[in-house]
């Protein structure tokens, strides 16, 4: 298929109802102009530093790697204001929205982290904010629902489909088709129609840029591998971006393998899906033979998505990044390990990345330096983890 807008190899594109095409092109223009405007960059950098708390530390784990040949560094996006990497790009997009004269923000959220970040921006810039969230996710991430409402955002439960992230995106797109004149859809991940995959990557690139400098200071060299969890793929593309042109650095995206890749209950889009069109771009999708979208599953709401960003599909297709799965159980194991051994409670999403890095560390025959993107903190996951610990069904 021919991709005329926003191509990543054979992937990407702009597949939305005609009514949204002019709005996406307006966004593309605004983004390009903003990138060329030093005042825009200066304002965003200032906000990231003074408001959001950049730069975030790169912390070398003291205990979890003992007995292995690996050193694992955590890029501490969990320490960013809002509790996850999401704030980086939300501030960027909110400034873009203001630049375009929009007065209202809408967003989807899965784990609630992107919704919280959007609520933060809405409060900061005094913009009316509405967040769509699957009702299943509202149950399992209740503290984040409260946070969003506290900051003045309206949280709208989505009851359609599997009541998760995919359905929240559907609902936000439907809202936007009728509200685009004064509303910016602040998409939270590196998926979706052009120009979102590019905008989100560029605003998240700061993660990898800092990490690359920090690892050089700490180790005097590049890492052997960089690990990040992949739902839609925003934290992963953010930390990968500045390493893509460093062929010695292995890039590892960790997808949610749920109950296992041999079951139907997972969200491993790249490993188990095939290319198709969901939410505006041509990329890997979990789907049946007709092209109906399958329901995904993950213990972490933020990875529970049957699509993935187009650039990840591309990096997979050319073999530049490798995509593997970590199960719910493995993620819970890494969650407990980091909490107990390092005193850091990671988000269940980020725990997937850590699980894979630990697996590699234990198997390492020679010295290895790894960076794991610790994309968010785990406070929001307490109830979910307690339920799992009691042997309850993960929702």
């Amino acid at each position: 298929m021919e991709i005329t807008k926003g191509a990543f190899g054979e992937f990407g594109g702009m597949f939305v109802p005609e009514i949204l095409a002019p709005t996406l092109l307006e966004l593309e223009r605004a983004f390009e102009e903003a990138q060329a405007d030093p005042a825009f960059g200066a304002e965003l950098d200032g906000l990231l530093r003074e408001y959001a708390g950049r730069e975030t530390p790169l912390y070398r784990c003291r205990n979890i790697t003992s007995g292995t040949k690996a050193r694992i560094y955590l890029k501490r996006e969990d320490l960013l204001h809002g509790g996850a990497h999401k704030t980086n790009q939300v501030l960027g997009q909110a400034l873009l929205a203001r630049r375009m004269g929009k007065t209202r923000l809408i967003a989807e959220t899965g784990a609630g982290q992107h919704g919280v970040a959007t609520a933060i921006a809405g409060a900061l810039f005094k913009m009316e904010t509405r967040v769509y969230m699957g009702s299943k996710d509202m149950e399992r991430q209740a503290p984040n629902v409260f946070r969003m409402r506290l900051m003045g955002a309206e949280v709208v439960p989505v009851e359609t489909g599997s009541r998760g992230l995919k359905d929240a995106i559907n609902e936000a797109l439907r809202d936007w088709a009728g509200s685009y004149e004064r509303t910016h859809y602040l998409l939270g991940t590196a998926a979706g129609a052009h120009p979102f995959p590019t905008i989100v990557r560029e605003f998240q690139r700061v993660i990898g840029r800092e990490a690359k400098r920090q690892i050089a200071e700490a180790e005097g060299r590049l890492p052997d591998a960089v690990f990040a969890c992949v739902g839609g793929g925003s934290n992963a593309i953010g930390i990968f971006a500045d390493f893509i042109d460093e062929p010695s650095v292995e890039l590892v995206g960790v997808e949610p393998a749920g109950h296992g890749l041999h079951t139907e209950k997972h969200g491993a889009t790249i490993e188990k899906g095939r290319p198709g069109i969901l939410h505006g771009s041509y990329s890997y999708v979990l789907q049946d033979e007709d092209g109906q979208i399958r329901e995904s599953h993950s213990i972490s709401a933020g990875l529970d998505y049957p699509g993935v960003g187009a650039q990840h599909s591309y990096l997979h297709s050319i073999g530049r990044a490798k995509y593997v799965g970590a199960t719910d159980k493995e993620a819970l194991g890494a969650f407990a390990l980091l909490s107990r051994e390092e005193g850091i409670i990671p988000a269940l999403e980020s725990s997937h990345a850590l699980a894979e890095a630990m697996k590699r560390a234990r198997a390492a025959k020679e010295e290895q330096v790894y960076i794991v993107n610790l994309s968010g903190r785990g406070d929001k996951d307490m109830e979910q983890v307690m339920r799992s610990a009691q042997g309850g069904e993960s929702r």
């Binding site: 002019p22 489909g161 088709a177």
Partner: protein, 270 residues
């Protein structure tokens, strides 16, 4: 490729009528009743049909048509079964234009070439992919035309002159003119379409212009025709009748007959 549309619009012009085109989702509320419903629409005066292929994630649709897609998918409305249903109706109604409304991923599901070829074989005249704007349309329009299917495109209220010209050239069979912004649904009424925009499309060489979104009453149909449109599509209003009478097939068909009759009567103009 758009021969049935051309004949229909020519004949209607002769009779000084516009087209009334109801929309239903194939397989709603189930495969058997869907077939009877479609035949009822045709027997009640529908000039053409818009038939939706049910999709799991219909982002251009409001709650009424979303629910129709869910009912259809639950009753086993695979793409293959929907095509077969359409082919059966086609046998009994050889002259009426059938337009398919799909989402891009269904056209890709088993391969685009195969999709358009099967659609043509089963009697479709046109395909509108709701999430394929003209900027991304090249592959879709190309495959459609190779299979003898008219690719149809949507004119939204925010289309500028460049887009109107582009759509006038690219859309075959007819042009789908949005009655308002937003997603499908009869809860929000259409705005009276701008006569100047319709005239601009026609000057740019577009095929006949049909208005959809927010159309549920005869006066909506009249307003479309008064603005220079060639017809009107009622989707959610038609589907709402099915949804309100689930389990009572006889009543559903009686109410649909009445609805189509009333809407069609409003297409008499000039």
């Amino acid at each position: 490729m758009s021969l049935r549309y051309e004949r229909m619009f020519a004949l209607l012009r002769e009779h000084r009528e516009g087209a009334f085109i109801p929309f239903v989702t194939l397989g709603d509320p189930n495969m058997t009743e869907s077939e009877a419903i479609i035949e009822t629409l045709l027997d009640s005066g529908a000039d053409a049909l818009e038939l939706g292929l049910p999709f799991s994630d219909p982002v251009a649709d409001g709650p009424v048509i979303q629910a129709a897609a869910n009912r259809a998918l639950k009753s086993g409305a695979t793409t293959g079964a929907c095509f077969e249903l359409m082919a059966r109706v086609r046998k009994n109604y050889p002259g009426v234009p059938f337009g398919l409304l799909v989402y891009a991923n269904l056209a890709l599901g088993r391969g685009m070439e195969n999709f358009y070829a099967r659609a043509a074989e089963c009697g479709a005249d046109s395909v509108l992919a709701a999430d394929v704007p003209v900027v991304s349309a090249k592959s879709f329009a190309g495959e459609a035309e190779r299979a003898g299917i008219a690719p149809v495109f949507i004119v939204p209220p925010n289309a500028d002159e460049a887009k109107l010209r582009e759509i006038a050239g690219l859309s075959k069979g007819y042009v789908y003119f949005l009655g308002r912004e937003g997603v499908t649904g009869a809860d929000r009424e259409m705005n009276a379409p701008l006569a100047s925009k319709i005239a601009f499309l026609k000057d740019a060489g577009s095929p006949p212009v049909v208005v959809g979104f927010g159309i549920s009453r005869p006066e909506h149909v009249k307003a479309c025709l008064n603005a220079g449109a060639d017809g009107a599509i009622a989707g959610s209003a038609t589907v709402a009748i099915i949804a309100a009478n689930l389990g009572d097939a006889k009543k559903t068909r009686a109410l649909l007959r009445e609805f189509v009759g009333t809407m069609k009567a409003a297409t008499n103009y000039r």
